[in-house]
């Protein structure tokens, strides 16, 4: 049993302490006092110089939120959150807002450099073969800099911070905000609606194929700070955009709340590809600290033949509660969800998707790969429903779970609902362990237990990795190796 036992031991001694992104940047920041009340919301709104309608929208959400309870149905456990013990706003002190990268606090740029983010345009341009990526970086609550803005503007693509969009494109924001995830949607989404600080906004005009990948990096830096970003992406008729999102946070002893909302709108014949590599701090080996990632992500395939594709690689967070979903409203619209969720240590993941088929001949595809190691719990929860008018709806779901060691758990909770007889819904699920035979075969060829596990896991998630944009796939592969490092040494 030597080799496998060793693997198991290493899983036990999981080294989440080795979290590579766990540094704190010494940046002066401008923080709102702890606690949540209407004054705080007014403070946030005033700081962002928001119009009256948005403040009213926030306050409505807040009043609604007061009447709501946190959801209890997910397979995750955590002590009650004291919402009065959180800072709802923290901005790096570099007011007024940076005009260009030159105005950004150099310490902040160094932080991003440490994160390996290609924030500085010159760096990106210097890389000969590197595909160009426009980046919006969100540091705690404020969007710091958006690269490549001018070039995007040439083709009419708007890519800016949410606050900027509120100032410069209020009509667009007002037309789409809250139309996919209503302010009343659920406890955390409603909280976000009340206190959201910043995030990214994208609008791709009709017929435009966005000339580069758009990317946002989120980082929580300030202690006791909740991060409530709000992202809104609108792809107008016949347009295409691919959007990447990356997340990190420093190591903290206490848990930090991250409750984001992402809304996607795809009009007729438009396509949105949304990819996430989530690597929030997962907490230490005993489950202290780490990010609570309670996120509502939803896309609305509003127009006929539109398509929304979610791809996610989830390796971080103490608790993940996240179900990127598609509302397939437009006729013959398509939704896709590709997910890799890796949990280790004492991480808890309850994640999946919803495919709501409303329109005729709508199609959806779900490929989910869950990998549980250490003492983690990894749940796939997915809903597929075909409504009365969604004739010819078609879904294929495949969720596979892989267990490493024997103290972790993998669970699959599908909800399937068909209200018309022509819908075809397929669900496949498997659970397997990294087999001793596979490990031994690799070891016999000279691979270490760690290399062998990473190789087998990479094989397991290959279908999904292939869905990621090239640049992210490489990053994701590294991330998978890093997050399993603890599990096998």
């Amino acid at each position: 049993m030597a080799a496998v036992q060793e693997t198991v031991d290493r899983v036990r001694s999981i080294d989440v302490e080795a979290y590579k992104y766990g540094f704190v940047s010494p940046i002066e920041s401008d923080v709102a006092p702890k606690g949540l009340n209407e004054d705080i919301i007014r403070f946030i709104s005033a700081r962002k110089e928001e119009p009256e309608w948005l403040l009213a929208w926030r306050l409505d959400a807040f009043r609604r939120w007061l009447t709501m309870d946190a959801p209890k149905w997910a397979r995750v456990e955590y002590p009650p959150i004291d919402f009065q013990d959180i800072h709802y706003f923290s901005a790096p002190k570099t007011t007024p807002g940076p005009k260009s990268l030159d105005d950004v606090d150099p310490e902040l740029l160094r932080t991003y450099a440490k994160l390996g983010i290609p924030l500085v345009e010159q760096e990106i341009l210097a890389g000969v073969e590197r595909p160009r990526v426009a980046v919006d970086a969100v540091f705690d609550s404020v969007s710091v800099a958006t690269t490549f803005k001018a070039e995007l503007a040439k083709v009419g693509v708007i890519f800016c911070s949410f606050s900027e969009a509120v100032r410069n494109h209020p009509d667009l924001v007002r037309r789409y905000l809250g139309t996919v995830v209503p302010a009343t949607d659920n406890f955390y989404a409603t909280l976000n609606s009340a206190v959201f600080s910043d995030g990214s906004f994208v609008y791709v005009p009709p017929g435009v194929r966005c000339p580069m990948e758009l990317s946002t990096y989120f980082r929580i830096n300030e202690k006791n700070t909740g991060q409530f970003e709000r992202t809104l992406i609108v792809a107008d008729k016949g347009s295409y955009v691919s959007y990447l999102e990356g997340c990190t946070a420093p190591k903290r002893d206490e848990n930090q709340l991250h409750a984001a909302v992402v809304e996607l709108v795809a009009l007729e014949d438009a396509e949105i590809k949304y990819s996430t590599v989530q690597n929030w701090y997962p907490g230490d080996a005993e489950g202290r600290g780490g990010i609570y990632n309670f996120v509502t992500k939803r896309g609305d395939c509003r127009g006929a033949r539109s398509k929304i594709s979610w791809t996610q690689v989830e390796t971080g967070s103490a608790i993940t509660w996240k179900y990127p979903s598609c509302i397939l409203r437009g006729e013959a619209s398509r939704g896709e969800f590709y997910s890799i969720a890796i949990s280790n240590g004492r991480q808890q993941v309850d994640s999946g998707t919803k495919m709501i088929h409303l329109g005729r001949n709508t199609r959806s595809r779900i490929i989910s790969k869950g990998i549980a190691a250490g003492k983690s719990q990894n749940t796939y929860r997915g809903q597929v429903s075909a409504h009365r008018l969604a004739t010819g709806a078609r879904n294929f779901t495949n969720c596979d779970s892989l267990l490493i060691g024997h103290q972790c758990g993998a669970h699959t909770v599908p909800y399937i609902e068909a209200k018309n007889a022509s819908a075809v819904i397929e669900h496949e699920a498997t659970t397997s362990k990294v087999s001793e035979e596979q490990l031994f075969y690799c070891l016999q060829r000279g691979l270490s237990a760690e290399e062998a596990t990473a190789l087998i896991v990479n094989g397991f998630v290959r279908d999904v990795l292939q869905q990621l944009p090239m640049e992210f796939a490489v990053e994701a592969q590294k991330l998978i190796a890093i997050s399993l490092e603890g599990s096998v040494g």
Partner: protein, 256 residues
Amino acid sequence: MMKTAGPMLEIKKLNVSIHGAPILEELNLTVRAGEVAAIMGPNGSGKSTLAYVIAGKPDYDIVSGEIRFDGENLLELEPSERAQMGAFLAFQYPVEIPGVATMTFLKAALNAQRRSRGEADLTTPDFMRRVREASQTLKIDQEMLRRPLNVGFSGGEKKRLEILQMELLRPRLCVLDETDSGLDIDALKVVSDGVNALRDPDRAFLVITHYQRLLEHIRPDVVHVMAKGRIVASGGPELALELERNGYRHYAEAAA
């Protein structure tokens, strides 16, 4: 015999059991560099266990005894360390790894072994050239190497891939566990040619088989007969022919 140096592999008084049941009992075996040693014996005589124990498969209890490879006590080494030292096992049942392209696996294995020797990783063109050369002799289609490791491979493809790995990794001690099983006569010829091409004064082979058939293609220097977990007779190639005529019964009874 090619070289008169000390034995490459030396097994002394090896006792191995699984779940308390003895499989190998007081087994002694010596294999010299340059030698091709065949191990023949009936089902259940412990041949495959011997192969696995040399490679370090974790399911067995080593009760007592020793296995030395170039004088080093193999039993103290991890399976990957044994492999890095140059001990190779061609599996009777090669394992499938879904999603991992065969080429990716070959490269990972080769580079892991190179790194253990302090050598740099092979560049992709160098690696590709080596694979192409080796796969030509073994009549392996490049398309097969793009498929996931052993997934959906025929018996013959799996066995040829084992020999391809042997060719690429160039181990010093090659243990072939029933490499002939599941092979038709043409595939047997290809595999045997591959093995023969690797015969070298610095390399030893331990060829485990039921049948004389394989030994017509891979001519052994020594034949050991195994029964009830120990070596009960040793001799030249003629011993294999005798077994073919008279079967194992006589030896099985002698060991009882």
